[in-house]
């Protein structure tokens, strides 16, 4: 069953100039999966999430969360969701415990239930030992986990997190990923937005690439990678002229002396690596990454 479904969502902002942030986005997110919206800055990810989470009205289109209409039944939707906004900050004199406890009370829990929920969520994000420290004394990653804990403590069925690991170091980011996957294993549905490719690859069950307000691709990681004609990449350091590459058949990205050559299959890749090594060049090959497909789909590559 679908946890979230949008049909033709359009959002137009009218300020000094008219901006069409979403141009008819239709997506469906299944119950119990972690779905990632991947896109460059300004792609419309946050706008989509804010509409789905009842914070923003769409200009056109429909959206449903767990069977409730986002436009006409926002109060029902709000009972089942929890949101972590983009670039969320903390009040310095609040503690992680206060965030989780009071937010749980606002969900209608009794004091005892709120205490249990706060403890459970703070333990899940490994902040239990720091629960009574003020946020002013916590690191960036700990603050972010405090906010995520406040969302987790809600026990909401659908969690919506807008770039929750943005600005975190690698260790803190991996901690958050582990928490999110743990929530999915408990049957929660998670809608995550990110522009970090590794994050999308590591945590997503399915994902959609959004660009300029439109869905450029949707599916599992393999589905998305399958969209590319070339399945392998060869990184070569040095001059490519003697390697017999065809300008028509091979896509090449140049970064100074380093070049990434995209080829159709592993045989072609190994042949190219062999030629390069014979010519005294450094070369290595690997299957294409999500980033390779993403760059191709959203453009902006240096060719």
């Amino acid at each position: 069953m679908e946890a979230v479904k949008s049909v033709g969502l359009v959002k137009v902002y009218h300020s000094k100039e008219t901006v069409e942030a979403l141009k008819g986005v239709s997506l469906s997110i299944r119950k119990g999966e972690l779905f990632t919206l991947l896109g460059p800055n300004g792609a419309g990810k946050t706008t989509f999430l804010r509409i789905i989470s009842t914070q923003l009205m769409p200009t056109k289109g429909d959206a449903i969360v767990l069977g409730y209409d986002v436009l006409t039944q926002p109060n029902e939707v709000r009972k089942h969701i929890a949101v972590v906004p983009q670039d969320v900050a903390t009040y310095g004199n609040f503690t992680p415990w206060e965030y989780s406890y009071y937010f749980s009370l606002l969900r209608g829990m009794s004091k005892r239930e709120a205490k249990e929920a706060a403890e459970r969520s703070l333990r899940a994000v490994e902040l239990w030992e720091l629960r009574n420290r003020t946020c002013a004394t916590l690191s960036g990653g700990e603050k972010r986990r405090a906010i995520i804990a406040s969302a987790l403590s809600s026990n909401a069925d659908v969690l919506m997190l807008d770039e929750p690991t943005s600005g975190l170091d690698a260790v803190a980011r991996r901690n958050v990923w582990a928490v999110l996957r743990g929530m999915v294993e408990q049957g929660k549905t998670i809608l995550l937005t990110t522009h970090i490719m590794e994050e999308a690859e590591m945590v997503s069950d399915r994902l959609a690439i959004v660009n300029r307000g439109e869905v450029a691709a949707e599916g599992t990681l393999d589905d998305i990678k399958g969209l590319a004609r070339e399945k392998f990449r060869v990184v070569v350091e040095g001059d490519l002229r003697d390697l017999g590459l065809s300008q028509n058949n091979n896509r090449v990205l140049k970064f100074g002396n380093k070049k990434i050559v995209y080829v159709k299959n592993e045989d072609e890749a190994l042949e190219l690596v062999g030629k390069a090594l014979k010519n005294g060049l450094k070369a290595e090959t690997a299957p294409i990454t999500l980033e390779d497909v993403f760059v191709k789909l959203v453009g902006g590559e240096e060719n």
Partner: protein, 246 residues
């Protein structure tokens, strides 16, 4: 009234005040000192200490009302706690009243202190305490609702701009009109007291305490002005403010 509405209001007020109560006790002293400062000048340079004490009480309720309504809403937007609450099953009225109530709780020790001093000095009679408390609550409600109007209409202004506006308004509404001094001192311009919710509250308290002679018509007029300011501000906010952005 819906029990959840009241419960959520109290939870938001607690969320916004308990951490400050616990960790910012100096802030409580600071809030009281701002309102107490004019008393020092009244004592040193002469003036009616009774009016000064009434002014200190009105000032405590008013400053916290207008400043907090603007600053709290603004900071809630800035740290995005508001976005999280919008996506919860919480009524916007619970949020607004909770946000306004929190600083009122924070100012309560100051109010009690000034009230106790006034009763102890015999400046205010014990029999008028009910009217004094009601006047202060309505004054706080009026100033808070003015604060909400400003934060609603200046949504795109920066946090720092809105903080400055709230400070200027707070000072302008509390220290300039006859709040700390009797309106009679303005002579033929004493009608100015009618223009500000703060000076109306101050005059009402003085009238109920026997410090100012006001006809019953004038008392009713002052109540009407206070309630009208509050009512109109709430109406404007409820028409203009959008819980879910358009």
């Amino acid at each position: 009234m819906n029990a959840k509405l009241i419960k959520d209001t109290l939870i938001i007020a607690a969320l916004k005040s308990v951490p400050d109560f616990k960790r910012q006790p100096l802030m409580l002293m600071f809030l009281g000192l701002i309102s107490a400062m004019p008393l020092y000048f009244i004592l040193v340079f002469g003036g009616q200490i009774s009016s000064g004490l009434v002014g200190a009480m009105v000032s405590t309720a008013s400053l916290i009302g207008i400043m907090a309504a603007i600053q709290d809403i603004t900071w809630d937007r800035y740290v995005k706690i508001r976005e999280m609450i919008v996506a919860m099953p919480v009524h916007p009225a619970s949020y607004a009243v909770g946000v306004a109530l929190a600083p009122f709780w924070l100012s309560a020790p100051g109010l009690v202190f000034f009230l106790a001093i006034s009763l102890w000095l015999g400046v205010l009679p014990l029999s008028s305490i009910g009217w004094i408390v009601v006047s202060l609550i309505v004054c706080w409600a009026a100033l808070s609702s003015i604060g909400f109007v400003i934060s609603t209409y200046l949504q795109k202004a920066s946090v720092y701009t809105l903080n400055s506006i709230s400070n200027i308004l707070g000072i302008g509404l509390v220290f300039l009109p006859p709040v700390y001094y009797p309106e009679e001192q303005l002579g033929q311009f004493s009608w100015i007291a009618l223009l500000f919710p703060t000076s109306n509250a101050s005059s009402l308290i003085r009238a109920y305490s026997g410090l100012l002679q006001l006809s019953s018509e004038m008392i009713v007029a002052r109540w009407l002005i206070l309630l009208a300011v509050t009512g109109i501000s709430i109406l404007v906010v409820s028409l203009k403010a959008k819980w879910r952005e358009a």
